[in-house]
């Protein structure tokens, strides 16, 4: 049975995306009488190229499994739970960034940025010693207002 390697997952994801976008190109307006080619042609060419390359990648992964060539070093396989636990920090940081983007228009730049910096520094540095807390506070409380001042008063750019 073929297992889902990185290359295989990539090729399959690309093929799915290509299929959806190819279907979507039908909604693009057709060429007018004075246009030799329509607006859908360029994306269709690219989608065709992506589909062919994805199929070649898929074929190569099959050849790899037959022992012809190996492009990926073999690593111990992890279950989804193990993978999430292994990448917990990175995933949490993505989560914090999403939350930051969500809160920015609601509570404004200063509070949202302070909260984001403090939370992400706590996540990455830890909060088990007084020194780490101090670093967290100093970095967050310096950088957030400093960037505000530079954008607002030096560059005349309003932040939310």
């Amino acid at each position: 049975m073929l297992t889902l390697t990185k290359d295989r997952a990539l090729a399959l994801a690309m093929l799915v995306i290509t299929g959806i976008l190819m279907a979507e190109t039908r909604n693009i307006a057709p060429p007018t009488s004075w246009q030799p080619y329509g607006s859908a042609l360029f994306p269709q060419i690219l989608l065709g190229i992506i589909a062919v390359l994805s199929l070649l990648l898929l074929l190569r992964t099959w050849l790899v499994s037959q022992g012809v060539a190996s492009s990926e070093p073999s690593r111990p396989r992890r279950s989804l739970t193990e993978w999430v636990r292994h990448n917990a920090t990175v995933l949490s940081l993505f989560g914090l960034f999403g939350l930051y983007a969500l809160l920015l228009p609601l509570i404004g730049y200063l509070i949202a940025t302070l909260a984001f910096l403090m939370a992400s520094l706590a996540l990455l540095l830890g909060i088990d010693t007084r020194r780490k807390w101090l670093i967290n506070l100093v970095v967050s409380c310096t950088i957030a207002p400093l960037v505000y001042v530079i954008f607002r008063f030096v560059l005349n750019v309003w932040l939310p």
Binding site: M14, Q35, S39, I50, P105, L159
Partner: protein
Amino acid sequence: MADFFLQALAQVGTPSVLLLILIGVLFGIIGGSIPGFTVTMAILVVFPFTFAMDPVSGVSLMVGVFVGGYSGGIVSGVMLGIPGTPSSITTVYDGYPMAQRGEPGRALGIGVAASFIGTLISVAVLVYFGPLLASFSMNFRPWEITALIIFALTLVAGLSHGALLKGLLAAALGLLITTVGYDRNSNLRFDFGFDALGAGFEMLPVMIGIFAFSQLMGNLEKLRDDPQSAKGANTNVAIPYTRILRDMAGQKLNTLRSSLIGSLIGALPGTGGTVANFVSYDQAKKFSRHPERFGTGIPDGIVASEASNSAVAGGAFVPTLALGIPGDLPMAIMMGVLILHGITPGPLMFEQNPILVGAIYASLMIGAVVMVLCQLLLVRWFAKISLIPQQILVPVVLMLCAIGSYALNNNLFDIWVLFAFGILGYLLWKASVPLTPLILGVVLGDNLERQLFRALELDSSWLTFLTRPLSALFLSLAVASVIFSLYQNRKIQRLQADEATSRNA
């Protein structure tokens, strides 16, 4: 030539622009000296600050970061044994052993001096070859430009660490990203019913998202897998000036050769500082009377490495300014800055914006002088800054990326674009997809489509691409670069297989 250069010099010579170059160089050195931060990241972080500036100020600031960034990699390379940027990997080979022998100041001083000379030589190459290439490419019509862009993309994809298929896939994906929104005929594409997608994606949040997230999250993963990589170092450094002058006097040929190699490699699409670094180190070793001493902490290795990677700066501007084809990632972002300021790099830039071209030359030269002064005077501080942990750096840079993306159009949607492409970039990085072709695709996509359809409107036959000599040449080179990459991949796989067999035997 002299006339517009003097006018440009007058604009760059104002106190405010000189201050911007100083800030750019300082930030570039700091960025380059922090392991894992890279020149590209430094440029991306500074990019949003140029929005409110006039083109000369914005470009001067960015050129400062560029010059500083390429020289900054030496600091962590010498002090920590970790290259600050990929383009200073070979600096570590001799810089770190020299520092461990108790001569960190000498190693840093030699590197800074070589960087300075390398940058100046590359500016000379840019001044001489830029206008030549631009005037030659004035004859290019849509067929030639289309074929040239395709050649550049295949070349970059082919050189992506042996992952040709994924490199080509990434380039096509990058081009596809530019098709979202209204096109040249005012037809809407891939909006999926969301009004916000009508305007398409802004290039900046897409580039930052793809590159910055993958790089920063990758740094965190490396730190998790190898916590020892964040070890400290003695940052008490003093520069022995007379010793360095004597060292450099004995390295004239090496400096010249390495600078020319760096300039030449910088001018080729798809290469850049890392390739220049290895090629010139290898050449210095081959031409040396004592090759066995390379890697033990000798000035020859540091000079070869630093002169070449700094010379990439000027060389890389040649195709970007003259053809509108960025050769590497930092140049792709540099091109983004120019486009943002309403300037389209290409053959016409030398005619339509000669003062800006002159400003780039002048900023490069002034930047080199500022760089050498900053490095020699503040090296002790840069050495301390190189110890900033990734745990502090990553959240701050992510926040700056978000604010930079927002500040582009005062549009919160751009932060979501950044986030979405950040996730995409990270996933592609995890799948070992090279991101440089993807970003080049994003930068060149609009131009490729425009030129392709202009060519087809002038002559609806696709065969014209093959009957015009220059476009046929570029397309043949594109095919040749793909075939060469396939051949190289095979060769590498065969070598790896032989190695594995001999190990098992």
